[in-house]
Symmetry: C2
Subunit: 546 residues, 2 copies
Amino acid sequence: MLGLMQQRPLLISGLVDYAATWHGEREIVSRDPEGAIHRSNYAEVAERAKKVARALDALGLEAGDRVATLAWNGHRHLELYYGVTSSGRVLHTVNPRLFPDQLHYIIHHAGDAYVFFDPVFAPLVNELAPRLPLVRGWVSLSDRAHAPAVEVSELLVYEELLAGASSDYQWPLLDENAASTLCYTSGTTGNPKGVLYSHRSTLLHAFAACAVDGLGLSGRDSFLVVVPLFHANAWSVPFSGAMCGMKLVLPGPKLDPESLFALMAEEGCTKSGGVPTVWLNFLAWIEAHRDRLDLEKIKLKTVLCGGSAPPRAIIEKFHDLLGVYVLHAWGMTETSPIVTTGAPLYKHADLSGAALVDMQVRQGRQVFGVELKLIGSDGRELPHDGVSVGELKVRGNWIVSGYFKGEGGQVIDKDGWFGTGDVATIDPDGYVQLTDRLKDVIKSGGEWISSIEIENLAMSHPDVFEAAVIAVAHPVWQERPLLIVHPRDGRTPTKEAILAFLAEKLPKWQMPDDVVFVEGLPHTATGKLLKTELRQRFHGHLAVTG
Amino acid sequence: MLGLMQQRPLLISGLVDYAATWHGEREIVSRDPEGAIHRSNYAEVAERAKKVARALDALGLEAGDRVATLAWNGHRHLELYYGVTSSGRVLHTVNPRLFPDQLHYIIHHAGDAYVFFDPVFAPLVNELAPRLPLVRGWVSLSDRAHAPAVEVSELLVYEELLAGASSDYQWPLLDENAASTLCYTSGTTGNPKGVLYSHRSTLLHAFAACAVDGLGLSGRDSFLVVVPLFHANAWSVPFSGAMCGMKLVLPGPKLDPESLFALMAEEGCTKSGGVPTVWLNFLAWIEAHRDRLDLEKIKLKTVLCGGSAPPRAIIEKFHDLLGVYVLHAWGMTETSPIVTTGAPLYKHADLSGAALVDMQVRQGRQVFGVELKLIGSDGRELPHDGVSVGELKVRGNWIVSGYFKGEGGQVIDKDGWFGTGDVATIDPDGYVQLTDRLKDVIKSGGEWISSIEIENLAMSHPDVFEAAVIAVAHPVWQERPLLIVHPRDGRTPTKEAILAFLAEKLPKWQMPDDVVFVEGLPHTATGKLLKTELRQRFHGHLAVTG
């Protein structure tokens, strides 16, 4: 027997209409690519989003067609977030920091019909356009005066498109499972893969973000959106912000500490969100200029931090310098992204000092709406005991069921579980603690050994500049850890000294089977250890030495 | 093109599993019908809910079968909330305060297979059972020792049913639109009508309740559930509580101020919710016993108030005596019930004193997830100007599409709008202010005149004990207001004096066309003015006197 409640689709257009009607005057402040501050509000953004829809109609775009952006966080990008999706097209947010070859691959693979770009990316457009003949047109996110000279067959100007469009438009009543946004994972191995979000997944995810114990967003907040709009839906902020009528402050391309500080102070920002690197710079700058800064002007209460784990120093300094709570969250492009957040459990509501930081450095607890479990090397579910190490698997309404165009094949099991590739423990209170990536963990006789844990320990030795731990094939144990050390300049530590140092803190079975010394370790362009190269180089190491 | 996100049904079983897994040790405290305090938690309640499911299986109940409760707020009632619904049956929460004839009608109309009742309602069961031969069995919500002697063919005992059932049970994967709970509107006219909620409507509504700007519920809260579980899903608290792992404190039948105060103090309650009448008594008792009470023990921060509008005095006294914020919400059984809540808009975050109370006495602003509009007498949408008076219409995923078994016929229009029968204004900031019931408003020449506003004005005259305003047919204006006054003992006000008094505050077109004096006004059993009787009596009044 079915209930007798209305069944209306969960659509992004509902968010846009809600924000325009009930929070119409709530501000959207953005720094234009030209550097000026632009003031708008939800009513105006919603009206312009309807003009976007009309303009896309005029360009002949149909439901499901992809529209790409190469843009920083600005009001026009936000208008596309609302207008492209609500009118039934798919917004493909492209990361302009990728290499041109990757950009070419992604835009071609997505089949983007139009690319909307900030004028600052004109050189990139000139490089890409000749190789992307299927892109029908390139749209400068500016007025005519600020449109760059680019060599493309069809250059359009955003403000002209909107000027020619009426805002008299009724959003279509779409299927709530229709595609809404598309975002590619950067992918350390293989080609980037597209994650295709739906209206339903987006709205349910936004509900979780607005929950007190999710991201705790409110219409009384002013949110400085440091996380890029091209990064996993900007952690839902454009959507959850509209759901609660939150003021949005969009910093454009200027993510330097001074610019962020000025915006925070001027726009009364109470919340913000971004990756740890941004905050490391920001906090270092504040410390360096503390004497001349009026910290009283900063109303910031909470900073959402994710993408990678914030070090203790970020959490402590935010607290000590600004009285800010760092809300640590975990997820990935494939999970919309929020799976866990650091909203404290009732019994931790009064924690302070180091004990509070101990809680905050963990990845937090699962929000309602998705499911999370820990799976051991034998495929069985592991207990929440804070000790058992396994891979995190997730399922739920904002978790991928597959990648765009079937890339990567079947990515969930028959019960819907998606393997995140993240290795972790979950403690009895439900806090997740990431320990490694699955591809880096050492599978030794059915037990998993964390490469990161040994690396961190080794790096606390005074003679070690950098360390890497990789799995090396072993005839008996399947895999065993090998420690590769880059010593500090002028130091010549011995294998025995390093092992003795580790033996004080590591269980015997987790001890590296060998230590080798190198003059430098290979890294990716973004600074991560390139373990694939190390694994190739030291492939048969234990067979030789063991 | 559909998104590539998982499509998993939104089910109450998901709430139960979530609470058991991630908030298992969070307490559920209840006062048993016998008076003792019973301590449980989400893990135990979830386990017993699974035993409920097994017990219903054993009784031969199928998906969609209705199971009724006649019970106060206790842990066993909560277990039924979770176990009956999650296993695919429909929980029909019956208001035991209704007259036996109404109870008979409702239980018969719902086709309830079993009735679970608190032992205290044994006399009611004895009265009802012979008239309800289709009820297959009556279950005492107790152990054997506390089961009452009732004259029914099949008396079962809850604790025995559970003792015989295993908790090894997997919730079925239901359609998210399947019926979950059933609640009848008391209905001032005609027969009671059943509102049949679905799993989807329940979960989306709970998301709204957990939002910061909804009810703002959190896992760090301890909620004293004064609103009965048989009253419109107890405003979602059993569901939204499980969604965030909130401690629930269930007061059983003891709603006297002293018992509530003791529970609040002992269980560290931070939030509560109930109708204004309960709070009037509670606050009066605190004032009377202030000298001997340790108010410091009360950790209450927010009291949710709805059902009818809380008077200013409640809002002010809660603030002054206990530092509590009254969160005024509006809705009805047909709307799950939350449509508006009094979470302050950003610009009102710093209000205090009378200005804050001015905001709180209004019904609040629309939450995201449903839609609200104001419709004038001509059927056109009215602006949010704080002046235009119209009927509130709502639509959305937690609004009825029709009543159980088709009672009342078509209740929504072709676009899904449901007429609430409440007449209101909406101000430019979106705050709703109820002014009347649609059936009581006077439709005068296309304009609406609020009966309540004139009544309140008239009752502020020193010679008036009680006043009623009704619409009376008028040859030119269609309807005009007639004021009916019951003077205070010993007073003999004149028509002219009353009209002169009103004329100081009412626009001329809203002035009553006549004033008649009576020796008493008719009331319903619950103390409301019985205007239907007055309308019959004064039907042709203006034709005679006009």
